[in-house]
Amino acid sequence: MADPAVVSGSLNSRSGGSKAVAGPAENYVLARRRTLQVVVSSLLTENGYESAEKAAVESLTEMMQSYITEIGRCAKAYCEHTARITPTLPDVVVTLIEMGFNVDTLPVYAKRSQRMVITAPPITNAPVVAKALSTGQKRSHPSHIPSYFPEFPDPHTYIKTPTFREPVSEYQVVREKAASQRRDVERALTRFMAKTGETQSLFKDDLTTFPLIAPRPSTIPYLSALLPSELELQALEETDSSEQDDQTDSENNPNNIVSDDPGADKENSVLPSGGVVPTVKSSEENVIDNPYLRPVKKPKVRRKK
């Protein structure tokens, strides 16, 4: 009887069958399948075929395999239904009946005269299911459980399994690693930039050992030189987020303040009171009278004269 697990394994292995090196499990499965093929072929011969396309034989083999597999699956189900672990003949019989097979014809068929005898498949050891993870000690049954009951599942299914290696927590190594990692990244990045753009060199004969990215004049050079880069801003946010808050409030837009009072109030209430910005400011904001904030006047009509 074919074990369902094994069969499914065989299906898998077929898809990957082209692999040059096959493990013992694959060998086992392949041997079984070859036997099945021989069986199909002999049955065909028995029925008077002289030749068959490979694909046809393959299909028939497939059909036969799934038929047998189904029988095995059902038989096992029947047996387990009755709280046993090993299927018996009646299980198989019931299965066959269930599948609409006339069991009575089986002995006659088995004893037919023209049947061909094929050699038994080579005895290969059923593959040992590789333990997925070897963790812990497999537990044996406690005394109150009879030995015929299934074994405990692999320990990794029910106990905590450390799936990573011991991390390197040594400070020195971490710093070392971070430093060299950053250096490598920077080096690679700058080298890449240097390769993709214009470069300068300190040596006339060698342009590649110390490539310097050529400086490009900027139209507004002070912006990049004065404004903190986004990276720095991010870092700052991480270290101290409260500092950033005073940069988000807007106060120089008179229209906002005049026309949008509730909005402004709301914004003020969001501002942390403990920040650098004095709390007085927000309430006084409405009364700031600065000539630069006043709206621009329309020209007087009399000027048109």
Binding site: T190, Q200, K204, P211, L212, I213, I220, E251, L293, V296
Partner: protein, 1086 residues
């Protein structure tokens, strides 16, 4: 007098159109000629009381000496230049623009009625006075961040509108500016309103400045500024360029504290109704103060992450604000009184430093400033604060040692002027020492309150002169307030130049228990003067610290000072210090016979002096360890450089470790320790100096080779952490190489530098680590004439180069604040070149020096090119630099190139004969540069003069072909110098002589007449027809007119007018008949 202007700006064409209206109250009869200052303005028409008035425009400073002159010596140039500046000096009643009052009004003038002078002018691509910054990108002017601002050295307002460009001519102002609707015009005074023009595409800003203000204190800035109203003081408004608002908010967040401080100590409110700060790009100076506004360099702005820039920016703001009170609000009577204003503003700025940064910082600063002025005066000759010019003769020149005249701010070397300001505030401090700070502040308060009373009066009340400070009025206030006579002090430091140089030594007389102190003076070498008077000496003995006041007299060198304590070093007792503290000392190092621990001469720095004092090394060590005054500690450290002993090493190391010690002292100790270690190299034991100390302070406990992740929250240790590697890199082993251990240590610091957890930016720290690498470089062992290639690179240098390459490249991707890292890398590359590790080549620097890089980077790159020019004697690169002086759009860079060339000249006077660079072409080029090429910038012209002096000296450059003998002889006698040029015009000489005889203001008039005649041919009258008459008249009236000018200061009336602004159409002017005649005369000599 009241002025108002209207201006229309056109950024793409960089032009300005405007008009000025002055209201003049004549106080003398027959006022028929009005002289104003105006440079580079194209004047279209002048009207006096609605009558067209003829005018002459004549600027002798455009070209100081004329084409035909083959004179090439600096003496000649300086006197001609001084004469030219005098000829247009508003304080002497002169000006470039001479307006003839129409004869119809003469009668009215006799009745002393109001004259209204109306001048229409335009400026096209001005080279001075106004600076246009127009980034060359797509987008509207506002999007591009294009802006304009006024600038200049001293009185330079004449560059952008006609005015009486004098600090002593006050008037009220009404200013109107019409600019594009996307722009903001910031100017002096209160913004009354902003009105759209009819087409709604432009805005007119109306300003009113009711406080009488001198024209040089008027400024303007126009740009698409972001506006920030100060959250603490709503009358203060800050302006910055687009996108910088967050930085502006942070940088300005403490300005109110400075305000409060000054108002409190001066017990006087800020005199103007509002204050504006404007931050502009390509600024001429970091700080320039004008009435009710200040213009700053945008590079002063910083974010909260930047440590190093913060105190610098605060200092700049404090300086600017101090000048608002003294300099803008209170102006000066004449140039000779400048020192009072600079002195007071510098002094109260010092008080601010003391309050904000602490007494240590203040004393350290005073010490630095004192050292600076002493060094300058000893090297270059004296700095005279209050020059008095009594005679015409050159031999009466109060500063014969200088190659420029100090008669005018515009003839001064920039370096000299900086030292002048430095000395001025130090002298104020000396006055404070004499009369106490309380009286000092009372004097200031008195000056301010008088001025503010005067400012609210009408002109007719004759009160406005109270707003002008003069040396005599200041001294009178001091004597009134304090009742003390500070005459000798003023005579010594203000009326006289130079500093004092003391040499001190001592011996201890055990029998008499007396300290025999000998103080000698050097008053013969240049820049020194003799000091007679009291001097304080502090003696630290075992029993305590004692002050003695000695009298320095003519002949007494020795002074006996009785000691209080017997030597008794075996008794264990705490030793009392000056500040009352009692400390345990290890006295084993002492001389057993003497109770003296250390001696200090003039500990309070109450004399402008240099002291070279000799005492034993252990005394210096005690002084370093136990004297609590930072100045004493600093002095001890510099003295210990001479004593490379284990004891000095220990004292310095202890100071380094002491956290209570002032951080600047500790920083200085680092460098001293490096020097000592180098001197002791053969006997040095243990790890390299400072290494274990650094490890202990900044490295991880578990792995001492790895530096902790950065945390700069403690600024003292931050500065120390920055400095120690730089000092360590100066260490040298027996082969005079930087020890491998040190280099690796620095490389590790760079490698393990981790700023991720830090609240502050580490850009300055990383830059200093690169500086450390630079310091570690030593000259390559060179096989003769070997070409430097990558293959024969020294292994250590390869590592250094690797770091520099990486840093420099990373900077392109993640630029650091103010590109500090690029700056350090450029310096490092130059050092590698200089030491022969890599081929010497200026190409890299030239590309970084181009316009469009951040200014600090450009300066660093230019410095490298200047250095290259000197080392490799490359005439091509010198030419490149001089071309940049001619063409660069940034005034600061042009100034900087020249001053760097002066500091690190391609050759000096002595080397001139051998240098291939020194040739006739260069002489001609430099001559042209100072003669006519720099007429739009006073500062730059003086820089050019300095360079000329550095290269060729005062006399005719040796590389020129010998002139006719007669000419050479003429050069020596200064009066005769004039002869060659006046040769064609004997009449001119005659007249100037006659002036000399009967007019008291000879100095001015002599040169004035000289200039007039010299420039005769250049004058271009407003209307050709009137020209001969005008000219003739001018000669005729010469004497009479001068007398009138003498009275002009006192009597000219001024009042406010309420005229309406009138729009002017630009095109209307270009067709004006007079437009072609008024300007740019020198080229017209055809």
């Amino acid at each position: 007098m009241n002025r108002k202007k209207d201006k229309g700006f056109e950024s793409p064409r960089k032009s300005v159109i405007g008009y000025v209206e002055l209201t003049i109250f004549p106080t003398v009869v027959n006022l028929n000629r009005i002289k104003l200052n105006s440079k580079q303005c194209r004047i279209y028409r002048v009207r006096v009381n609605d009558l067209e008035a003829p005018f002459i425009y004549n600027d002798p400073t455009l070209e100081v000496c004329h084409h035909e002159s083959k004179q090439r010596n600096l003496n000649y140039f300086s006197s001609a230049y001084t004469a030219a500046v005098t000829a247009v000096d508003p304080d002497a009643g002169n000006g470039e623009l001479c307006i003839k009052v129409p004869s119809e009004l003469w009668k009215q003038g006799d009745e002393m009625k109001v004259l209204k002078v109306y001048i229409e002018f335009s400026l096209d691509q001005p080279k001075g006075g106004l600076h246009f910054v127009v980034p060359n990108v797509e987008g509207s002017m506002a999007e591009r961040g294009a802006h304009i601002f006024s600038f200049g050295n001293q009185n330079s307002t004449r560059f952008w509108f006609p005015c009486v460009d004098s600090y002593s001519e006050l008037c009220t102002w009404k200013l109107e500016f019409t600019v594009d609707a996307s722009m903001v015009a910031v100017s002096c005074g209160d913004l009354l309103e902003t009105v759209y023009t009819h087409d709604m595409r432009k805005k007119t800003f109306h300003y009113m400045l009711p406080i009488p203000t001198a024209a040089p204190n008027i400024s303007l800035a126009v740009g698409p500024f972001e506006i920030l109203v100060d959250p603490y003081m709503h009358e203060v408004t800050h302006f910055c360029l687009p996108q910088l608002l967050p930085l502006l908010k942070h940088s300005m967040s403490f300005l109110h504290e400075i305000f409060e401080f000054y108002e409190e100590i001066l017990t006087c409110r800020y005199p103007y109704a509002c204050f504006k700060t404007v931050f502009v790009d390509e600024a001429y100076m970091q700080v320039s103060a004008y009435a009710s506004m200040s213009i700053f360099s945008t590079n002063l702005l910083h974010s909260a992450m930047i440590i190093d820039q913060t105190p610098l920016t605060r200092r700049c703001l404090a300086q600017a604000l101090a000048q608002q009170f003294f300099g803008c609000f209170i102006s000066r009577m004449s140039w000779a009184d400048e020192w009072v204003l600079k002195g007071i503003s510098g002094y109260i700025y010092g008080l601010y430093l003391k309050k904000t940064f602490g007494v240590n910082e203040y004393r350290h600063w005073i010490k630095e400033e004192l050292d600076k002025i002493v060094e300058y005066e000893l090297k270059m000759g004296g700095v005279l604060l209050h020059p008095t010019f009594c005679g015409v003769k050159e031999k009466d020149n109060p500063t014969p040692h200088l190659h420029f005249s100090i008669k005018h701010p515009h003839t001064l070397s920039w370096e000299y002027y900086k030292m002048f300001q430095c000395k001025a505030h130090l002298v104020m401090r000396l006055i404070e020492n004499r009369i106490s700070m309380e009286f000092m502040l009372q004097v200031f308060n008195k000056l301010l309150s008088l001025a503010s009373t005067a400012s609210s009066q009408k002109y007719q009340s004759h009160m406005w002169s109270q707003m002008l400070v003069s040396t005599s009025s200041f001294l009178k206030s001091i004597s009134n307030v304090s009742g003390k006579d500070i005459g000798p002090l003023i005579k010594q430091w203000v009326d006289q130049s130079a500093v004092v140089k003391f040499y001190g030594s001592f011996a201890f007389n055990r029998k008499r228990n007396v300290l025999e102190l000998e103080i000698r003076q050097d008053y013969t070498s240049s820049g020194t003067q003799k000091y007679v008077g009291p001097i304080k000496v502090t003696v630290q003995e075992l029993d305590g610290s004692f002050n003695h006041t000695l009298q320095i007299e003519e002949n007494s060198l020795k002074h006996d000072i009785p000691c209080h304590s017997k030597s008794r070093r075996n008794k264990k007792k705490k030793i009392p210090l000056m500040n009352g503290e009692e400390v345990d000392m290890d006295l084993s190092a002492m001389d057993a016979d003497s109770p003296l621990l250390w001696i200090r001469i003039d500990p309070d720095m109450s004399i402008l002096r240099k002291v070279e004092f000799e005492q034993a090394d252990f005394m210096w060590q005690y002084q370093l360890r136990y004297e609590r005054d930072v100045v004493a500690q600093v002095e001890a450290i510099s003295a210990l450089e001479r004593y490379p002993t284990p004891a000095s090493r220990l004292a310095l190391t202890d100071i380094l470790e002491q956290e209570q010690c002032f951080y600047r002292v500790r920083i200085q100790a680092c460098f001293c320790l490096a020097k000592i270690a180098n001197a002791m190299v053969s006997t040095w034991t243990g790890p390299p100096a400072m290494k274990s100390l650094f490890t202990r302070m900044f490295c991880c406990k578990t792995c001492p080779n790895i530096v902790k992740t950065n945390n700069f929250i403690n600024f003292q240790s931050y500065f120390l952490q920055k400095t120690m590697p730089v000092a360590m890199a100066l260490l040298r082993d027996v082969q005079n190489l930087c020890p491998k251990e040190v280099l690796n240590f620095i490389l590790d610091l760079i490698k393990y530098n981790d700023n991720r957890k830090n609240k502050f930016s580490d850009n300055y720290y990383r830059a200093e680590l690169i500086d450390a690498l630079t310091n570690s470089l030593t000259p390559a062992i060179s096989i003769s004439n070997e070409v430097r290639t990558v293959d024969n690179l020294n292994a250590d240098v390869r590592l250094i180069l690797e770091e520099i390459t990486r840093f420099l490249n990373m900077e392109k991707l993640l630029p650091s604040y103010r590109n500090t890292i690029t700056v350090s890398c450029l310096r490092a590359v130059r050092m590698l070149q200089k030491n022969g590790h890599i081929p010497s080549d200026p190409g890299l620097f030239k590309s970084y020096a181009e316009y469009g890089h951040f200014v600090d980077v450009r300066v660093a790159a230019l410095e490298a090119v200047v250095d290259y020019t000197r080392v490799d004697r490359s005439s091509e690169d010198l030419q490149w630099l001089l071309d940049m002086v001619h063409n660069d759009p940034t005034h600061y860079i042009r100034h900087k190139i020249l001053s760097m060339l002066c500091k690190n000249p391609p050759f000096t006077k002595a080397e001139a004969a051998d240098s291939s660079l020194c040739n006739e072409a260069l002489v001609d080029q430099l001559w042209k540069l100072m003669n006519s090429g720099t007429s739009q910038d006073w500062r730059l012209r003086c820089d050019a003069v300095n360079l000329y002096y550095t290269l060729f000296g005062l006399m005719r450059p040796s590389c020129l072909p010998l002139p006719e003998l007669g000419l050479v002889l003429n050069l020596k006698e200064k009066k005769a110098v004039l002869n060659p040029t006046i040769k064609p015009e004997s009449g001119g000489r005659f007249e100037s002589r006659s002036d000399e005889e009967d007019i008291d203001m000879d100095t001015v008039h002599d040169s004035q007449a000289f200039i007039y005649h010299q420039l005769n041919m250049l004058e271009r009258p407003s209307t050709p027809g009137e020209s001969p008459h005008q000219h003739h008249h001018h000669h005729h009236e010469h004497k009479k007119k001068k007398k009138k000018h003498k009275h002009k200061h006192k009597h000219k009336h001024k009042h406010e007018s309420k005229d309406k602004e009138k729009e002017r159409d630009a095109r209307g002017f270009s067709n004006s008949p007079a437009s072609g005649h008024s300007l740019r005369s020198p080229s017209l000599s055809d």
